[in-house]
């Protein structure tokens, strides 16, 4: 996957001869030892002692196997002054990548070449000693970043002021809140004149005011030609901040390029995965039910009715008539109910209801309410209902379906028959998302 997208081709346009790469990674491979019997895969002291005398290469073959969080054959160059966002699901290798770039991890094979001074915010309070005061930690962190005592002292006031920690700087950092940790860490990192700033998700714990200040500072660094690598799940931030996005998946570069495009691809990939998870979970549940072979044993415990007419199956489909569990607000949802008539009935009504996962009823209707004339039913058949524009805000929902008599006598009632998700790029609040337009001074814009 990564190999099919040579990174050089998609890099932001710059004079080809003048590009200087501050991070240059060649065929990087990082595998972690299997955990289990013993770390490193050794079983006994004796084995360990014996293997101590073997060459490292032999060992690598014996004890290392690929696993989650690893990185496979990654070639990646980040030019000077770039602002790169790193996205990917949990365990895709993002943090491993950062640790390799900073040198905390050593690669199993391949090369990591970094030019310039790195300041990394890998994790909250990373490298801080809990019993030391903020001031002592500041000094130590400065030393570890390669500053001299004098340099640290000359910047001390500025660092503390930026972190807004003047009042607690002489308290041990174990008493700090996560926001304080982040402020101190970030403040130290940007005051060490980094050429490359690596930020792993930590900005999330800052309050709005401080995050704004950090962002100003990062903008300044970028103007000064520094390189930024941002790892986050906040896709909006990535889009705003980065001029290039790298999508890691299972330790490989799945895609790389302009933020909008890569983020869209990533989002739809995630939705597909989510849908597959929901479907495979349903299949498991169905398999369980069938193995128990008892219609009273619905796993959700909510099916009732006399079964003169039985609901045989329920599906939700997309506009292409394939099974679907993850929708967008604007999508059409087709609910497909298969029924079987055991004893012919009059006044049959099919109904459906949507609730939010927390149980809040969102919408409900049936063929009677919608004044649909039901023909006489016999044998087997299918009833479908198109919800033409779902119009729900992002979240998890459940679908109930039912067949009953007009007076309410239940033939078959399925509560929580289907779980589905709605995804949206908009951040509306509430439950429903009606189609709308804004008219500002007579100028109309549809959204």
């Amino acid at each position: 996957m990564g190999a099919s997208l040579p990174s050089q081709q998609i890099e932001p346009t710059k004079a080809a001869d003048a590009v200087e790469y501050v991070i240059d990674i060649v065929k990087l491979c990082k595998r972690f030892a299997r955990r289990g019997r013993a770390p490193q895969g050794y079983t006994t002291f004796k084995a360990a002692l014996l293997s101590f005398f073997k060459s490292k290469k032999d060992l690598a073959v014996v004890r290392e196997e690929p696993k989650a969080f690893g990185i496979e054959d990654l070639t990646l160059r980040i030019p000077k002054g770039a602002s790169v966002g790193l996205i990917g699901r949990n365990g895709s290798g993002k943090s491993t990548f950062l640790k390799l770039v900073t040198g905390i991890y050593k690669p199993t094979s391949g090369e990591v070449n970094v030019k310039g001074r790195i300041a990394a915010l890998i994790e909250l309070g990373a490298g801080f000693h809990p019993d030391f005061t903020g001031r002592e930690n500041l000094m130590l962190a400065g030393i570890m970043h390669g500053l001299t005592r004098e340099q640290i002292l000359s910047r001390y006031d500025e660092i503390v002021e930026f972190a807004e920690l003047g009042h607690v700087i002489d308290e041990p950092v174990r008493t700090y809140s996560s926001g304080m940790f982040m402020r101190l860490g970030f403040s130290i990192a940007i005051h060490t004149d980094p050429d490359i700033l690596l930020v792993d998700e930590v900005l999330a714990v800052g309050d709005a005011g401080f995050v704004a200040k950090c962002k100003d500072r990062i903008s300044e660094l970028r103007k000064a030609g520094k390189t930024l690598v941002l790892v986050t799940h906040d896709l909006d931030a990535v889009e705003r901040w980065c001029d290039e996005v790298i999508w890691l998946h299972q330790g490989e570069v799945k895609d790389r390029g302009f933020p909008r495009r890569v983020i869209d691809a990533y989002r739809s990939f995630i939705e597909k995965q989510e849908q597959n998870e929901i479907l495979s979970h349903e299949h498991e549940v169905i398999a369980q039910v069938q193995s128990v072979e008892s219609d009273a044993g619905d796993p959700k415990g909510a099916r009732w009715g006399s079964r003169e007419i039985e609901i045989v199956s329920v599906e939700t489909l997309g506009s292409d008539a394939s099974e679907k569990r993850v929708y967008h607000s604007d999508d059409t949802m087709r609910v497909k109910i298969a029924y079987r008539v055991h004893a012919a009935q009059d006044e049959v009504v099919f109904g459906l209801g949507v609730s939010r996962v927390d149980g809040l009823p969102v919408f409900g209707t049936n063929t009677d309410i919608d004044r649909i004339k039901m023909p006489a039913l016999k044998g087997e058949g299918i009833v479908e209902c198109d919800l033409k524009r779902l119009g729900l805000v992002e979240g998890g929902y459940t679908l109930d379906v039912a067949v009953h008599r007009a007076d309410g006598y239940p033939f078959d009632y399925h509560k929580d028959a289907i779980h589905f998700s709605v995804r949206s790029e908009r951040r509306e609040v509430g439950v429903v998302s009606p189609p709308r337009a804004w008219i500002i001074n007579g100028e109309r814009s549809v959204c």
């Binding site: 360990a48 640790k99 990373a126 000693h129």
Partner: protein, 259 residues
């Protein structure tokens, strides 16, 4: 080995801050502070003198308690350096996994902190010597040499043990037990002269036992340590130090993952 010495020098400010902190946090919140670190050798000296000298009528000479004390102080340095140093990498795992922290600094800090305690206790020993009516011998001048040799030895052992302990936590338990054994193999509560000839090699060739003797000789007896013995211990220390560096370097790239 030179590489690691250079690295330590580069991070001297860090080492300095960590050692200070290590000592300060140990006695935080206690009224008598540093005095507590003297209690342990004083109590042991009192008990050993009572038991061996008075109860068992063991004739260790008129200055038995001084010999015990002079042996106990370096022993306590050894034992706390080994116990804390072995666990040092594991205990500071968060520094190694989350930041680019120079791991070899940590065992060095453990050895150095324990050494500071040892050095600070020496004036007390001097007071005891004076109180016993003895002169402070000129051989105290040899102290820096013995201390340096001792420090090289401890650093080598701790560098290796702390690295191994990252992968096998058994090591720290093993060390605790071995120390009990080692204590009685060193001539602290008995003079080396009571050891029968056929067992004497246990004292002569055990660098820790030899060091114990050196301390007793220079601090109490006013005897210069034998050159051959000193050279032997120095060589052993250098070899142990080098081995420590090799073992540490062999494992150091895996620390961040194993912790």
């Amino acid at each position: 080995m030179l590489g690691i010495v250079k690295e330590l020098w580069r991070f001297r400010a860090l080492v300095d801050a960590l050692v200070r902190r290590h000592i300060a946090t140990r006695y935080r919140g206690s009224v008598f502070g540093f005095l507590w670190s003297l209690m342990n050798p004083l109590c042991l000296m009192a008990v050993y003198t009572l038991v061996f000298h008075y109860y068992m009528r063991f004739n260790g000479g008129p200055y038995y308690h001084l010999m015990v004390f002079a042996g106990l102080l370096p022993w306590i340095w050894t034992s706390s350096a080994l116990v804390e140093g072995t666990a040092s990498l594991v205990n500071s795992g968060h520094l190694i996994t989350k930041s680019l922290f120079p791991a070899h600094v940590l065992p060095f800090v453990s050895v150095s902190s324990a050494m500071v305690h040892f050095l600070l206790a020496l004036p007390v020993l001097a007071i005891f010597v004076v109180m016993a009516g003895l002169p402070i011998p000129i051989t105290w001048l040899a102290l820096p040499v013995v201390v340096i040799v001792h420090a090289v030895f401890l650093n080598g052992v701790v560098l290796a043990l702390s690295a191994l302990n990252v992968f096998y936590r058994d090591v720290q338990h093993l060390v605790g037990n071995m120390l009990t054994l080692l204590f009685f193999l060193c001539p602290v509560v008995y003079p080396a002269t009571v050891v029968p000839e056929k067992w004497r090699f246990l004292i002569t060739y055990n660098p820790l036992a030899a060091l114990t003797q050196f301390y007793q000789q220079i601090l109490i007896e006013g005897v210069w340590p034998p050159m051959s013995g000193l050279v032997y211990v120095l060589l052993v220390s250098l070899v142990v130090g080098a081995c420590g560096v090799v073992v540490h370097n062999h494992y150091k790239e895996k620390f961040a993952e194993a912790l």
